[in-house]
């Protein structure tokens, strides 16, 4: 089972099964015929705009909306006070002013008492046009009593720190999770501490500690978030067109928020202009469009502008990490300990599985074989935007992969050992799989050394090191950075993984029509991953039906079975497995039908792609298309077998899948200006079996650009007064085609042993793995100046200051 397996071609020239077929979706997109939320226009639809707080922390003294209400074209101006008066027969509170977050916290829909971050929702204007709605914002007069803001997570627990969540009766800025814990640990604390202490005392060992910040960044999909809500006042039916990566989960949340009967809610997530985690959360704007429709009796559209997107919706990262690594002087890793201060913003809006308040951060022990690891994660409230599962992070694995790959490089520097050699000495050996990690993960499969050696071969690693030495002698600084990452994706086994009590299994439904054409209905939601193509390929692989004969339906809760949605690279590992399972169910049903038609026992039949035939008599058989017609015909079927060729399935993954990869980045640094040029980027990914290699490579390309962006330029920073300094694309810089090199990709294929088709998921691999490669390369380049670490983003200013021996604190933009 490898990616290069030859498969027959369909009449349309597509592979029947796996292979690089062109995308089904492209036909509409290249013609400008996509259907995104802002393209939805319903008769009588009203528009809206949100007035947001200019302050990070302030008490609302008064709101005067009379002038806004008097503006011609304005239909309604809603405040938090009004929402508090709209009763809801809800499971989670008694009015609309507050809503639950995905982490069992509460978040203000519109502020009633205080504003707690700059950009928080204060009032909602509904008007006949978006221009008038925007005009009306200027006419709302809010009086604020400005309070001191907590902008530095390190000061959030100071005794004199202002208390942010007084609404909950808190007396400090700690965050208590649903289990009652204020911090969360994994691994063996005592054994790890003992191993580090022993290493410190041992002259044959070294211990390296580094403070490593993964600063606040934003997924910033090109399409901002928005919704169109239509609540039919007669039938009580709510139809919500919305930018959602998880339509079914959102439907359940709206049922809880709005107190609406869940069967009356239809969530439609049409074409989505990129998600990257930004469209996992439920935002006040979505709820306000629903409330707006409830109060006006008309459809209401809400689309955020770019500043609203960057300033108020789910940020990512903001992890302050102290990492300690112990090793022998020969470079054998003994123990790693990581202590994390997590900045969660003003409302705990992270979307992690309930039992994992720090997500899967505890996979930080990485790709290396050593016995002792421990982490402790302590979250705090600050006066910043809420959220925290976003930007292709695989539930905090991005932070985990970054911290281990960075600290391993720090260890290499301390040992004066080549970082490739150090990694090769410690990689988990192939015969150790399934491998139980020191923090309790069971890595399913891997051939790590093979993957790493392939990356080094593509890079010409030894030659690069020679070139580097020659250049250094001439005063030119190039750097080579390596990252070897392991992810755990495909959440997850429902016994241990749920979000808001919803187990993370995915439903699926396959119908094969009498003519042998099929419809597959998915719970997961594409935001560009091409589910309409790849899921058809999975069914094609299992049944031999040409992929062009299989339509994939997704993004509409009325038309698809329940499932938790697309994030954490879970579509292929969970719903992809479901697609395989449901197709195999159909194949087994087809076998019975074929046996009836061929007047033999099902046990006498053998499967070849697209056809059941009689063992030893290959001419005697029935194609899946023939069987489809037969199954709808008058053919007599065995007792207990109904007709038709449809099936449903729910897939509950037995374990996560563990994609991994080795990335090598080559940079040139102008140490006199601090400018970094990414010259080459080599990425060898092992995501198990590749359904559509073209699409897999596209996913990797995108993630590599993310990594370059985060490593070099992306940052949501704040000043001391709480002003967001990354609130537009003028300051939240995203990489362009000029910063990205012509990536060089390679692959190894180690199938997942427990996934029906051996696939592991790849959507976030490159975003997870690439930042460390870029940072390691830059630090490698400037290491002759005694630099061992500098925090992202490595802007020209930060690189120059690091070379000067005075690296900057990057989370505060102005020193």
């Amino acid at each position: 089972m490898t990616a290069v397996e030859e498969v027959p071609l369909s009449p349309a020239g597509n592979p029947i099964g796996f292979g690089s077929m062109k995308r089904v979706e492209d036909a509409r997109f290249v013609r400008g015929q996509g259907n995104y939320v802002d393209d939805v226009n319903l008769p009588g639809m009203l528009h809206s705009a949100i007035l947001r707080s200019p302050h990070a922390h302030a008490r609302i003294v008064s709101i005067d909306k009379s002038a806004a209400e008097a503006l011609p074209g304005v239909v309604l101006v809603i405040t938090g006070e009004m929402l508090a008066g709209v009763p809801r027969p809800s499971l989670l509170g008694d009015n609309f002013a507050w809503m639950p977050t995905l982490s069992y916290d509460t978040q203000a829909v519109l502020a009633t008492d205080k504003v707690r971050f700059q950009g928080q929702e204060v009032a909602f204007v509904i008007a006949e046009s978006k221009y008038i709605a925007r005009d009306a914002l200027e006419l709302i007069d809010v009086e604020y009593d400005v309070l001191d803001a907590v902008m530095d997570a390190k000061k959030a627990m100071d005794p004199d720190a202002p208390v942010i969540r007084d609404d909950k009766g808190q007396t400090d800025n700690s965050i208590t999770d649903v289990h009652g814990n204020q911090s969360w640990e994994s691994g063996n604390a005592e054994a790890t501490a003992a191993a580090i202490a022993a290493a410190e005392a041992d002259p044959n060992c070294v211990v390296v500690t580094e403070q490593i910040l993964y600063p606040r960044v934003h997924p910033a999909p090109m399409e901002t978030c928005g919704s169109v809500a239509e609540l039919n006042p007669v039938t009580g039916q709510l139809t919500l067109y919305t930018t959602s990566q998880a339509p079914h989960a959102h439907r359940t949340v709206y049922a809880m928020v709005a107190g609406l009967p869940e069967q009356k809610i239809r969530v439609i997530s049409p074409d989505i202009g990129g998600g990257f985690g930004n469209k996992v959360g439920v935002y006040p704007g979505y709820v306000l469009s629903i409330v707006g429709s409830l109060l006006t009796g008309k459809p209401v559209k809400w689309m955020e502008d770019r500043s609203e997107n960057l300033m108020s919706t789910s940020f990512a990262r903001d992890y302050h990490m102290k990492a300690t690594i112990a090793a022998t002087k020969e470079g054998k890793i003994l123990a790693v300990d990581v202590d994390v201060l997590a900045d969660h913003g003003a409302f705990n809006g992270v979307a992690q599985p309930t039992n994992y308040p720090a997500g899967f951060f505890h996979i930080f022990s990485g790709s290396y074989d050593y016995p002792n690891a421990h982490c402790k994660v302590t979250p705090v409230y600050t006066n910043k935007a809420p959220g925290g599962v976003a930007y292709a992070c695989s539930f905090r694995i991005t932070e985990a992969a970054y911290v281990i790959e960075r600290v391993v490089d720090c260890l290499a520097a301390e040992l004066q050992m080549d970082p490739a050699e150090l990694r090769l000495k410690n990689l988990i050996a192939s015969d150790k799989f399934p491998y139980m990690s020191p923090t309790g993960w069971e890595y399913d499969s891997g051939e790590y050394e093979k993957t790493m050696r392939l990356a080094m071969e593509i890079a010409g690693y030894d030659e690069l090191r020679r070139e580097q030495a020659e250049k250094r002698a001439k005063g030119e600084y190039m750097g080579i950075g390596i990252s070897f990452f392991t992810e755990g994706v495909g959440a997850g086994p429902r016994k241990t993984m749920d979000i808001l009590g919803l187990g993370m299994a995915d439903g699926i439904e396959l119908r094969v029509h009498p003519t042998g054409k099929a419809v597959l209905r998915l719970s997961v939601q594409s935001q560009g991953q091409a589910h309409e193509t790849t899921f058809a390929q999975i069914v094609s692989h299992e049944l031999g039906i040409p992929p062009e004969d299989i339509d994939v339906v997704h993004g509409d809760t009325d038309q698809t079975p329940f499932g938790l949605g697309t994030y954490g690279s879970r579509s292929t590992p969970v719903s992809g497995a479901a697609a395989s399972v449901v197709a195999r169910k159909v194949r087994e049903r087809a076998k019975i039908v074929a046996a009836a038609a061929l007047e033999c026992s099902p046990d006498d039949l053998e499967w070849e792609l697209g056809r059941w035939y009689v063992k030893g008599d290959k001419e005697r058989g029935k194609t899946i298309q023939e069987i489809a017609l037969l199954s709808h015909s008058a053919l007599e079927l065995p007792e207990g077998i109904e007709g038709h060729l449809d099936a449903t399935a729910v897939y509950n993954p037995p374990n996560l899948t563990y994609p991994y990869g080795c990335y090598i980045c080559v940079v040139d640094v102008d140490v006199l200006t601090g400018q970094v040029k990414v010259r080459r980027f080599i990425a060898v990914d092992d995501c198990g079996v590749r359904i559509n290699p073209m699409i897999v490579e596209g996913q990797v390309h995108g993630g590599l650009a993310d990594g370059i962006g985060m490593a070099l330029m992306e940052l949501i920073a704040f000043d001391e007064d709480g002003n967001c300094l990354g609130g537009s694309f003028m300051d939240y810089l995203l990489p362009t085609a000029m910063e990205c090199p012509d990536y060089e990709l390679g692959e190894t294929v180690t199938p997942s042993p427990h996934h029906p088709i051996g696939a592991k998921g790849v959507g976030e691999s490159a975003t997870v793995g690439s930042p460390a490669a870029v940072v390691n390369a830059v630090i490698d380049a400037i290491s002759p100046f005694g630099v061992r670490h500098a925090d992202m983003p490595l802007t020209p200013a930060n690189v120059w200051r690091a070379v000067q021996g005075r690296p900057m604190r990057t989370d505060m933009a102005v020193e």
């Binding site: 995308r23 290249v30 013609r31 996509g34 999909p221 090109m222 699409i695 995108g702 537009s728 694309f729």
Partner: protein, 159 residues
């Protein structure tokens, strides 16, 4: 005020507020929703279309400023059922994922090739440097434009 302009070969006359942005005119008045928008500061290039034969960020031009001019949008690339090579190139090379930046990228790519039929990789990258894509990492967009360069066809505005 009343404006008259040509979009993809068809003349339209509409009464608009002077403040209306060209992108909103195209999307909301003419209902050509293939032109998207992505920011407020002219940085992302998602809204790129042609005005008098040159790509322009339509969020940074008022509809009244386009009075009397000829606009071309993504809907004007294909000749009926026949795709422009730039569109075919994006399909062939997997030059798009979510599809949101794609119309703007294709409009710029078409313009580049009309003026420079055999651009280098560097010239392509520079030409699209005012447009952000979050999905593809650009490599396949560059390949798509190269594909179109290798499969030339006329790109006259279809009416």
């Amino acid at each position: 005020m009343q404006i008259t302009l040509t979009v993809n070969g068809t003349e339209y006359t509409r009464d608009v507020e002077p403040r209306m942005l060209l992108v909103h005119f195209i999307r909301d008045e003419l209902l050509l929703r293939g032109t998207h928008w992505g920011c407020d500061t002219s940085n992302c290039g998602t809204c790129t279309l042609w005005v008098d034969g040159e790509p322009v960020k339509s969020c940074t031009m008022l509809a009244v400023m386009a009075d009397g001019r000829a606009i071309r949008t993504v809907e004007g690339l294909a000749n009926g059922a026949e795709l422009d090579p730039i569109q075919q190139g994006f399909i062939e090379c997997h030059g798009l994922q979510c599809g949101f930046c794609t119309p703007g990228m294709m409009m710029t790519g078409r313009w580049l090739l009309d003026n420079n039929p055999n651009p280098s990789e560097g010239e392509i990258r520079e030409c699209i440097s005012g447009q952000i894509c979050r999905c593809t990492g650009y490599k396949n967009i560059v390949s798509a434009i190269q594909w179109a360069a290798e499969h030339p066809a006329t790109s006259e505005v279809t009416s």
